[in-house]
Amino acid sequence: MNRTLIIGGILSALMLVAALASFVWTPFDHSAMNIPERLQTPNGTHWFGTDHFGRDLFSMIMVGARTSIAVACVAVGIGIGLGVPLGLWAAARQGGWVDEVIMRGNDLIFAFPSLVIAILITAIFGAGAINAIIAIGIFNIPVFARVTRGGALPLWAREFILAARVAGKGAARISVEHILPNIANLLIVQATIQFSLGILAEAALSYVGLGAQPPTPSWGRMLADAQTLVSIAPHMALVPGFAIILTVLGLNLLGDGLRDALDPKLRVTRV
């Protein structure tokens, strides 16, 4: 076991536990306002302090983790669900028109500044978690398609795939039976990276008011609330900020650790 994997695993698990625990327990009601106790710095009662409405930041962080995980999870799911089959298909038809169309389509999506399009989508179809998920998810599709195809192409040239073809197996069956298990590591590592990027993107969209809407708590919106108060209550910015950094750091370390543990020569796309 390497150290990166352990630290990353612990940080990621911590966030998952916080999110799950929030369903049954939080120190305070995350949405209960308590004006007399507003803008408290971290203390024995309010571990992370309170915001300008006197809401408990610790509780809000716990519930906010839920939003982050849900958005990032579904967005990665969209990327894997559509990107991996497309990548497998493109690799199986290497050099053919299917490959060409899929890869050109990929390039085209990459040509759009992702955040701009996410903003456009959420702005036009309404702000909210669902549209944020779709906007982030769309940009995961080409990432997974590219990684899948990149991992699958060298495999198609390998002799065990030729042997399977000689054994009469079709492209679809070979893709599922031989290719997919051999690129699973690659996909797992890429998924952790996209997951961390999803959390950053969700935070950014919520920060500009296009992500999860009130009353759903979200780390990005907590930062937006903190902005005007940063000079008098810096903890309001520091707490959600550290939550995001530690989570993303944890996921990245987990990804790196997994990569080293699963296959030292694995290549992933990191943008």
Partner: protein, 315 residues
């Protein structure tokens, strides 16, 4: 080389055409009628019709698409629904904030990342490498808009070295303008520098394993000489890719950073236009950003060919 350039140029045009279609389609399916939005829900039907005719909204879709694209090619981005001023003028003002900001950040990012990446690669596995990589690991995890808030807290509010926001304008002199862009540029650049440094390092390490590096060492080059003379140029190919992507990210990332620093750039324009349902502005600004990204990718492709003779020969 000419053929390569021509081919890339062709693919640039095709990408732009498809991108414009997609953007147009997205705006088309957007709910709400700009005319009724501008005049309010109580507007009379004939006033609405008149406005629609004035804005050209009553024409068939394909005609409006062609008019939009044709106009853009001549520098005419249409007229804002909200302000009734040419969109091109609005964009031009804002561009003078967003573009310098993106370039400033890109320069900073490169200036930090290249030495850091080269240093880490040359110290592979040693303390220097481990600490640089640790720092980049954290840098990658920092949301730039949060980092921007912290910079404001420290350097504007506490130390008062910079102003907390706003833009002096270029009329006040280049120095003052650059100063008001400095904190935003740092906020944008540092997380990107972390990514770039990691890419630089891993590209160099990949090259170090190549057979030709051993040939170079067998000639009598020292490790550092071999890295400089044979490693760097080969490592530039993945690094260029990331540099191209970073430019687009910096342009887009600027949109959010502009919110933090109240900078009058394209980002603020896009947000204002979205809330005012001024879709023609949204459409044109988006297209402009996509155009910038696709053009940068084109330039990156040309840079590949300059670096790699194999590309010049092939296709």
């Amino acid at each position: 080389m000419l053929r390569y350039t021509f081919k890339r140029l062709l693919s640039l045009i095709v990408s732009l055409a498809i991108a414009s279609l997609v953007i147009f389609a997205v705006i088309e399916v957007a709910p709400g009628d700009p005319a009724s939005f501008m005049l309010g829900i109580n507007a009379a039907e004939d006033t609405l019709a008149a406005l629609r005719a004035e804005l050209g909204l009553d024409q068939p879709k394909w005609q409006r698409y062609l008019a939009w694209v044709g106009g853009m090619m001549q520098g005419d981005f249409g007229t804002s629904y909200q302000y009734r001023t040419p969109v091109s003028e609005m964009i031009a003002d804002r561009l003078w904030v967003s573009l310098p900001l993106a370039l400033y950040a890109l320069t900073l990012s490169t200036l930090i990342a290249f030495p850091a990446g080269i240093y880490a690669a040359s110290r592979r596995g040693k303390a220097g490498d481990v600490s640089v990589m640790g720092a980049t690991q954290i840098g990658v995890a920092i949301p730039n808009f949060w980092f921007a808030m912290i910079l404001v807290l420290i350097f504007a509010i506490n130390l008062r070295w910079f102003s907390a926001g706003g833009f002096t304008g270029w009329d006040e002199g280049v120095w003052a303008a650059m100063k008001s862009l400095t904190l935003p540029a740092i906020a944008l650049a540092l997380p990107q520098a972390a990514i770039l440094a990691r890419v630089m390092r891993s590209a160099l390490l990949d090259v170090l394993d190549e057979d030709f590096m051993r040939t170079a060492r067998a000639k009598g080059l020292s490790r550092a000489q071999a890295l400089r003379r044979h490693g760097l140029r080969n490592a530039m190919i993945p690094v260029l890719t990331i540099l191209g992507l970073q430019f687009s990210f910096l342009l887009a990332g600027g949109i959010i950073i502009e919110q933090v620093f109240y900078l009058p750039g394209l980002g603020r324009l896009i947000f204002q236009s979205i809330s005012a349902r001024d879709l023609i502005v949204v459409e044109s600004v988006t297209m402009l950003l996509v155009f910038a990204v696709i053009t940068v990718n084109f330039l990156v492709d040309l840079a590949y060919a300059a670096v790699d003779p194999r590309l010049r020969a092939r296709t």
